[in-house]
C-alpha cells in the first residue's frame, strides 16, 4: 500500500521495524543478513488495521456459540451454525455434559431467532437440557436472553414478576425470554457473566487471536474497556507486554466512562491525555475517545432524517434515540478537541452524523486546530452533502460495510427503503468527495475479518445475493487501502503502520493468495496463514 512501491519481491526486517522493501539484491546493501524463505509461497501485505471492534469479541468465546452462521473461534475451530431449535438444544446439551460443577450456570451466546424457522426458542426447549442447572442464552442482538425454568426459579422470576421485558405466554407464565437489561439483570448469574468475562485476561488474548486469524495486526477496542476502573490499564499492559501477544491494540476511552468527581471539568479528558502521554507502549496505544450518539438502524434506534423509517414496528415513536443530548455534543467534543485528542463518534443515522459534524465545526471555530482526524463511526447513512462538509472540516469516516451483507436486505425492505439502502455505507462517495475512510466489522456484532469487510465494500452483495447500490462499490485496491492505511490514519498511527516501507513497524498480513489475482467475488475466501507483528510471526488458529 506504499504508492511509491506497490509491489515488491522481498522485505528486510531489523528488530521490530522494516529495514527496507525491494529486491533481494537491493536489500543486500544493508549488509549481512539472513534470508528467510518461510513465506516464499505466500503474499505479504501490510497488516490489516481494524479501527472499530470491541474486546467482547474475545470475551464471548468464554461461552459456547449457538448462532445461525458458521463461526470460527480464536483457536481456529469452526463452530457450525445452529440452524434449528433442535440443533441449539443439541449443542447446549453437549456443553452441559462437559460442566463438572452441577451448580454452574451454562451461558451461551449468538442466538438469532430471526433466522430460526418455526416456533421461538423458549424455556421449555432449554428444560430438555437440564431442569437442575440454570441456563442463560444471550441473543446475537445483545438486547435479549432466553433462560430455562431452573434459572427463573433461582432468580425468582414467575407469573407475578412485574418487571417489563419478562415475556409471558397466553396463560401469564414467563416463557423464559428476557428483553432488555432490566429484565436480563434479574437472571444475575447469567447476565453478569459476559461483563466478568470481558475483564478477564483470557478475553484480551482471545481478542488478539481472533485478529491474528484474519490477518489483522492492529485492533481498536472502541470505548468498551472501563479504563477509569482500577486494574484495567494494568491488565492491558500485562497482556500486550507479552512478546507472544499477537496484536497491537488501540484502547479508546469511552466518554460515558465516568471518572473521579474531584475534577473541575470532564474527567475523561485528563485520563485520555495521561494515557496517551505516559502509558503508551509499542503494542498498546491511546489518544482516541469514543462517543456514542445514537442507536442502531436495524433496532430502529438510529437517528435518521426525514422521511425516517419506512416500515417501523407498531408503536415506534417515529425516530430513534439520542444517547447524548444533541445540544451538549459541541461542548463535549470541544473538551477533547482542545486537549488534542481525536474523537470517534458513533453515528449510524444521518441526523446523528449531522449533529456530530456541526459539533466538530463549533469546536473548530472555538479552537482552530489542524489535523484532528475526528471520525464519524459507522457513518451508515451519511449523505453526499455531509461527506463534502466532512472533507472541508478534515474529518474521517469509518464505514460499517458489513451491514450490506448482514442486514442489507432488511434495510431495503424494512428500515430505510430501497433508495437510501442503495446509498448506505457509501465508500465510493467518501472516496469521490475526498474523505479519508476505513471500513469495519464492529466485532463481535459481525465477525472480524478485513478480507470479508473489504469484499462487502467491493461487491455490495447482500445475504440474499443481490447487489445493493452498485454505484457505491469501490475497487479492490481502494478497499484494501481503507483496511490498512485508511484505518491507521484515523487512529493516528499511519506514521508507524498501514503500509510496507522502510522505518515502519514490521506488521504483515500473510495470505495464501494475492488479493489482486483472485476475482473480486473471491476476496473473502482467501485463506489467511496468519500475521507478523513487529517481526514476530503468529500462525492463525494456534493457541
Amino acid at each position: 500500500m506504499n504508492p511509491a512501491l506497490p509491489f515488491a519481491q522481498a522485505i528486510a526486517v531489523r528488530g521490530d521495524r522494516i529495514l527496507g522493501v525491494g529486491t533481494v539484491e537491493d536489500l543486500a546493501q544493508w549488509g549481512d543478513h539472513e534470508l528467510s524463505e518461510q513465506f516464499n509461497d505466500h503474499v505479504l501485505m501490510p497488516g490489516f488495521v481494524e479501527a472499530h471492534t470491541h474486546v467482547m469479541a474475545g470475551a464471548v468465546w468464554e461461552f459456547p456459540y449457538v448462532g445461525f452462521y458458521d463461526r470460527a473461534d480464536p483457536t481456529g475451530r469452526t463452530w457450525l451454525g445452529c440452524q434449528t431449535i433442535a440443533s441449539v438444544v443439541d449443542r447446549l446439551a453437549e456443553c452441559e455434559r462437559d460442566l463438572n460443577d452441577p451448580d454452574q450456570t451454562l451461558v451461551a451466546w449468538g442466538l438469532d431467532p430471526i433466522f430460526l424457522k418455526g416456533e421461538r426458542l423458549v424455556a421449555k426447549h432449554l428444560d430438555q437440557i437440564s431442569t437442575t442447572r440454570p441456563i442463560f442464552v444471550f441473543h446475537a442482538s445483545g438486547h435479549l436472553a432466553t433462560v430455562n425454568s431452573e434459572m427463573m426459579r433461582r432468580s425468582g422470576i414467575d407469573r407475578y414478576t412485574p418487571t417489563p421485558g419478562v415475556a409471558k405466554d397466553a396463560d401469564g407464565e414467563p416463557n423464559g425470554e428476557l428483553q432488555e437489561p432490566a429484565a436480563m439483570s434479574l437472571a444475575q448469574d447469567g447476565f453478569a457473566a459476559i461483563g466478568v468475562a470481558m475483564m478477564s485476561p483470557n478475553a484480551k488474548w482471545n481478542y488478539a487471536r481472533e485478529a491474528r486469524n484474519c490477518g489483522v495486526t492492529t485492533i481498536a477496542d472502541l470505548g468498551t474497556t472501563r479504563l477509569a476502573m482500577e486494574g484495567q490499564l494494568e491488565a492491558w499492559r500485562q497482556a500486550t507486554d507479552d512478546p507472544s501477544y499477537p496484536a497491537r491494540v488501540v484502547v479508546a476511552v469511552g466518554h460515558s466512562d465516568f471518572g473521579s468527581e474531584n475534577q473541575d471539568s470532564n474527567p475523561m479528558v485528563s485520563l485520555a491525555v495521561r494515557l496517551r502521554d505516559e502509558e503508551e507502549t509499542a503494542k498498546l496505544r491511546f489518544g482516541i475517545v469514543k462517543l456514542v450518539l445514537d442507536g442502531s438502524i436495524q433496532g430502529f434506534t438510529a437517528r435518521i432524517s426525514w422521511p425516517h423509517y419506512v416500515n417501523p414496528p407498531p408503536g415506534h415513536p417515529g425516530n430513534g434515540l439520542w444517547l447524548i443530548p444533541p445540544e451538549q455534543l459541541a461542548d463535549i467534543v470541544s473538551s477533547y478537541h482542545e486537549a488534542g485528542l481525536t474523537v470517534h463518534c458513533h453515528c449510524n443515522g444521518d441526523e446523528a452524523a449531522q449533529v456530530f459534524i456541526d459539533a466538530v465545526e463549533t469546536a473548530l471555530q472555538r479552537h482552530p486546530r489542524w489535523d484532528h482526524r475526528h471520525t464519524v463511526q459507522h457513518c451508515q447513512l451519511t449523505t453526499t452533502a455531509q461527506y463534502k462538509k466532512m472533507a472541508a472540516l478534515g474529518m474521517n469516516a469509518n464505514i460499517f460495510s458489513n451491514h450490506i451483507f448482514h442486514w442489507g436486505d432488511q434495510h431495503a425492505s424494512i428500515t430505510v427503503g430501497e433508495e437510501r439502502a442503495a446509498r448506505m455505507d457509501a465508500c465510493a462517495t467518501a472516496q469521490r468527495e475526498g474523505v479519508k475512510f476505513s471500513v469495519h466489522s464492529d466485532a463481535p456484532i459481525t465477525p472480524m475479518g478485513h478480507l470479508h469487510t473489504a469484499w462487502c465494500a467491493v461487491n455490495r452483495l447482500t445475504a440474499s445475493g443481490r447487489v445493493l447500490g452498485p454505484e457505491e462499490r469501490i475497487s479492490v485496491a481502494e478497499a484494501l487501502e481503507a483496511c490498512t492505511l485508511g484505518a491507521a490514519y484515523q487512529l493516528r498511527l499511519d506514521h508507524d503502520i498501514g503500509s510496507l516501507e522502510a522505518g515502519k513497524l514490521a506488521d504483515f498480513a500473510v495470505l495464501e493468495k494475492d488479493p489482486f489475482e483472485v476475482s473480486p467475488e473471491e476476496l473473502k475466501d482467501i485463506p489467511v496463514w496468519g500475521t507478523v507483528v513487529g517481526g514476530t510471526a503468529h500462525v492463525a488458529g494456534s493457541k
Binding site: G156, Y160, T161, P162, P164, A182, F258, W322
Partner: protein, 301 residues
C-alpha cells in the same frame, strides 16, 4: 408509609437536559425526612453543603441526615447492588436518569429484589418546554419522557410567561400524570414520596389541606371487588397505595398503586418480607376520603 419492613421504594427522576433534575436531587437531599439513597450520573453536579457530609469514599457520599449519594461510575447494576447492601438500609432509592434516557426503561429496574417502584417523576422546563417539543431533534425525546411520567414537575414557572399553553400541552401528552408546579425544583416531597398530594388545578396552592386514611383488613380480597372499589373512588382521590392479597392468589403479596387515574397491581418482588393482609393508604382533599373502604376490604365484597 413503607409497603413493608426492609423494602426500598424507588423513585425515578427523568427529564430533558437542563430541566432541573439535579436541582431536585439536591432539594431531596436537603429536605428528606427519611433515609434516601440517590444514584446520580455525576457527583460534580451534586451540591452538598460540606457541613452535611459525614464521610465520603470514591463512589459514595454519606450525609449526616442519613442520606447516601452513590455515583454510577461502575455501571447501573453494580450501583444498585451497593445501594441495596447499605446498612442501615435506606428506605427510598432515588435514581436520576440521564437527560436523554427513557425514565420508563430506568423504572423497569425498580421491580428488582428488595425494591418497590413508587413513581416516575419527570422534571420539565416550563420556560423552554413548548420550544423543546417543537424541536425536530429533541421533540420526540421530550414527548416520550413526559409520556412515561406518573408525576410531572413543571419547573421554572417563575420564568415562564406561557404557563397556560404549557399546561395544555402537558395535558395532551400525559393526561393521567399528576402535575406539580415549582421554581428551583422546590416541590413538596410528599407529593411523590406518597404522603400528600398537590392538586393539579391551582398553581398557587402548593399544599392543600389533605388527609389520608389507612385501611386494613386480613382477608384476601377478590379482584372484582377491588376493581369495583377503584371504579367507585371519588374523583378527588389522587393517590392510593399499599399492599394487598387477592383471593385468586392469596399467597402472593401485591403492591397496589394508584396515581391520578392510573392504577396497577403487581407482585411484591421481595417474598421474604411480605406482610400478611391488606393495608391501603388513601389520600385526597379533606372530606373526600371514603370511610366505607374499611368495610369493603374487610368483608371482601
Amino acid at each position: 408509609m413503607q409497603p413493608s419492613e426492609g423494602l426500598m421504594e424507588v423513585s425515578v427522576i427523568g427529564g430533558y437536559l437542563g430541566a432541573g433534575k439535579t436541582t431536585l436531587v439536591n432539594h431531596i437531599l436537603r429536605q428528606a425526612s427519611e433515609r434516601v439513597a440517590v444514584m446520580v450520573n455525576d457527583f460534580g453536579e451534586i451540591n452538598i453543603d460540606q457541613s452535611l457530609i459525614d464521610s465520603r469514599s470514591e463512589n459514595t457520599i454519606s450525609l449526616t441526615n442519613g442520606c447516601i449519594c452513590c455515583s454510577l461510575v461502575d455501571g447501573f447494576v453494580s450501583a444498585l447492588e451497593s445501594v441495596t447492601s447499605f446498612r442501615p438500609k435506606p428506605t427510598r432509592l432515588v435514581i436520576e436518569a440521564s437527560g436523554v434516557a427513557d425514565p420508563g426503561a430506568v423504572a423497569a429496574y425498580g421491580h428488582g429484589p428488595g425494591l418497590a417502584l413508587d413513581a416516575v417523576v419527570v422534571v420539565t422546563d416550563a420556560f423552554r418546554l413548548c420550544e423543546q417539543i417543537a424541536d425536530p431533534l429533541i421533540g420526540q425525546t421530550v414527548v416520550s419522557q413526559i409520556g412515561a411520567a406518573d408525576v410531572i414537575v413543571l419547573n421554572k414557572i417563575d420564568l415562564a410567561d406561557n404557563l397556560t399553553a404549557v399546561k395544555t400541552e402537558l395535558a395532551k401528552l400525559n393526561p393521567d400524570a399528576l402535575l406539580a408546579y415549582a421554581s428551583h425544583a422546590e416541590v413538596n416531597l410528599d407529593l411523590f414520596f406518597g404522603r400528600e398530594i398537590v392538586r393539579t388545578s391551582d398553581p398557587t396552592s402548593h399544599v392543600g389541606k389533605f388527609e389520608s386514611r389507612t385501611h386494613e383488613s386480613s382477608q384476601p380480597i377478590p379482584r372484582a371487588a377491588l376493581e369495583a372499589l377503584v371504579e367507585n373512588l371519588p374523583p378527588e382521590i389522587q393517590r392510593v397505595k399499599g399492599i394487598i392479597r387477592l383471593a385468586e392468589a392469596p399467597h402472593v403479596a401485591m403492591v397496589f398503586q394508584l396515581v391520578g387515574r392510573n392504577w396497577e397491581l403487581r407482585a411484591l418482588a421481595d417474598r421474604n418480607n411480605s406482610p400478611d393482609g391488606n393495608r391501603l393508604v388513601v389520600i385526597g382533599p379533606k372530606g373526600s376520603v371514603p370511610m366505607e373502604w374499611d368495610n369493603a376490604l374487610r368483608s371482601g365484597k
